[in-house]
């Protein structure tokens, strides 16, 4: 792994450049598009020669969109707020439920642990649409329809299995000696858990939380079916730019940029832990 011939370095460089180009190009293109108006976007051949404008972002942030048919109200910032709220709380709840459970699975090989773990993962198998529609009926009956609480509960289906498996893997990777020593010294399991296990598992928890956040953020159908307009996240809200009087491509582009921003910020913040935290404890050594 240490020696690399010059040819190899060049090949690696080219390969990496191609990869980065493939994944980054659309993002870059959309970024540029967010500073254009429909007129320049709909030109062929596409060119980089245009006068940038902030009108798209302005429309999104102030909430007013001027189009062919007059001025439309955009609730995008509200959608952004909803996405943040739903994702943050869903991940928080999933962490609260999942980390202790992961710890239990990792440390205590109790009867039925693999089965319960598999059951929890199996909730991810249920195709969302299968349960969504009966769920609207039941939520109506128990009064959870169109509530943030109801949505956060449903979002656990997305977040919990992910957090469980990743954090469990990380816990298994940590040698239990330190905890054992802490216990022997007379401390309760709770303080061991809190003071030793969790800090040690921080990378795993951070990585799991970030991935869970991303998947919660990107969800589309849950809020659409179960909530009314004021609780819709950005995934649904971005479609509002597809109007009968024309698709506002510039605004869609700006909306996409704004919707990536929070998750990107989070990733940059947690980047230290990300790669480290995803070791799944499969290999000892």
């Amino acid at each position: 792994m240490t020696r690399q011939s010059p040819l190899e370095r060049i090949l690696r460089g080219i390969a990496l450049t191609l990869v980065v180009a493939f994944f980054m190009f659309p993002i870059l293109w959309i970024f540029l598009m967010s500073f254009q108006t429909n007129e320049t976007i709909l030109r062929m051949p596409p060119s980089l020669d245009f006068a940038p404008t902030l009108s798209n972002y302005k429309a999104l942030i102030t909430g007013k969109l001027v189009s062919n048919a007059g001025t439309l109200d955009i609730a995008f910032m509200g959608n952004l707020g909803n996405s943040v709220l739903l994702s943050v709380f869903s991940v928080a709840v999933a962490l609260l439920l999942g980390v202790p459970a992961a710890y239990a699975f990792a440390r205590h090989k109790f009867k039925g642990s693999e089965d319960i773990a598999f059951t929890l993962l199996s909730f991810k198998f249920a195709p969302p649409l299968l349960v969504l529609l009966p769920l609207t009926l039941y939520f109506q009956k128990i009064g959870l329809a169109n509530t943030y609480v109801g949505l956060i509960w449903v979002y656990q289906l997305i977040c919990l299995p992910l957090i469980l498996w990743i954090v469990r893997g990380y816990f298994e990777d940590i040698s239990p000696d330190i905890e054992y020593a802490h216990r022997i010294a007379g401390n309760s399991w709770w303080s061991t858990f809190r003071k030793i296990a969790i800090p040690l598992a921080r990378p795993g928890i951070a990585a799991a939380a970030l991935l869970a956040f991303i998947f919660a953020w990107n969800n589309f159908v849950f809020a659409l079916v179960l909530a009314s307009a004021d609780k819709q996240p950005v995934t649904v809200g971005a479609l509002a730019f597809v109007t009968a009087s024309g698709i506002q491509y510039g605004q869609i582009a700006a909306a996409i940029m704004l919707s990536i921003a929070p998750t990107l910020a989070l990733a940059l913040f947690a980047q230290r832990y990300l790669v480290e935290g995803l070791s799944l404890g499969a290999v000892k050594g």
Partner: protein
């Protein structure tokens, strides 16, 4: 390898000693909340099973009755069902395999812990952060025949009339491309984490012995990486066979019947045809498929873990 034994042995020792009830109950207490929160899903799940055994159209409520397994039996002779099955499996298989290969390749490229590599690995997460529904919209725009930049680039290399998602021959290619763009970073980051957490001794030993790199990769890296590969493949497979957002946003299942995968077909069955019975039955079959596949994967994964814990290099 040696350090793990005392830990595991210690736990085993602790287990063998008679522990107080609270101690034995502890793991259950810890995992119960998670289980309880998720158990609620069984109620709508049960309702869905019930629906799948009925002839139930929302627009014909008077005709609603139990027809037991008839919905399922009808699938056997329904060409559109077999089409759905075929397309879903092809889509899931293609995306998972391609994303694994690509993700592994990129992870290998970024293996070294350099600042540049770390930066690139975070940057490459951006497609994953784009909601698939929005990503599909972006790609639809870029592949628009009239003003899309990708169409323009394609015309530069001689593919003048390439229709991307509008032609049956290239529709699958286009949505797979979008899927790869969105989800490969997920596999990449998992495998990268795996690569970086591998123990150094086997590699250092191999290098000292002058073992060729390809051999090292095949005989040392890959086997140790397998649990990660399996986890990544599992999560992706589950998502891919249930894919809805990308395909629905791009073509609503078209052109023709080329992309009517399970969830898209079930969605159309419910929302357009209001055929609740068929929709539920279709999704039950999807659930069964994912259940079987995941069980296989997990059994394999558990076996690997056992083997690793047993201390085989």
């Amino acid at each position: 390898m040696a350090e793990s034994l005392p830990g595991r042995a210690a736990t085993a020792v602790v287990a063998r000693r008679k522990r107080p009830l609270s101690q034995r109950l502890l793991p259950y207490l810890l995992s119960m909340p998670a289980l309880l929160v998720c158990i609620g899903i069984l109620v709508p799940f049960g309702t869905a099973i019930f629906y799948s055994l009925q002839r139930f159209r929302l627009s014909q409520p008077w005709a609603r009755k139990m027809n037991w397994g008839e919905n399922y039996l009808n699938f056997l002779t329904d060409p559109s069902f077999w089409n759905t099955l075929k397309v879903s499996l092809v889509y899931a298989g293609t995306t998972v395999v391609l994303e694994l290969l690509l993700g592994l390749g990129i992870a290998l490229l970024l293996q070294r812990r350099t600042r540049l590599n770390n930066l690139i690995s975070i940057m490459l997460l951006m497609p994953l952060m784009t909601a698939p529904a929005l990503a599909a919209l972006m790609w639809k725009l870029m592949t628009n025949v009239n003003f899309g930049v990708l169409s323009w680039l394609a015309s530069l290399v001689g593919l003048e009339e390439f229709q991307w998602a509008s032609a049956p021959s290239s529709a699958l290619f286009t949505v797979v491309l979008v899927d790869i763009w969105v989800y490969t970073p997920f596999i990449m980051i998992l495998l990268l984490a795996g690569l970086r957490s591998l123990p150094r001794q086997p590699f250092e030993a191999a290098e000292l012995d002058g073992v060729p790199r390809w051999f090292v990769f095949r005989r040392i890296t890959l086997p140790m990486l397998t649990p990660y590969i399996i986890t990544a493949a599992l999560f992706r497979l589950l998502d891919s066979i249930q894919q809805f957002d990308i395909i629905y946003a791009m073509t609503q299942g078209g052109p023709g019947d080329t992309l009517t995968v399970f969830q898209v077909e079930a969605y159309l069955d419910f929302f357009q045809s209001t055929n609740v019975g068929r929709s539920a039955a279709l999704l039950m079959i999807l659930w069964a498929i994912t259940y079987v596949l995941s069980s296989l994967f997990i059994k394999h994964w558990l076996k690997l873990r056992e083997r690793a814990a047993g201390g085989i290099a």
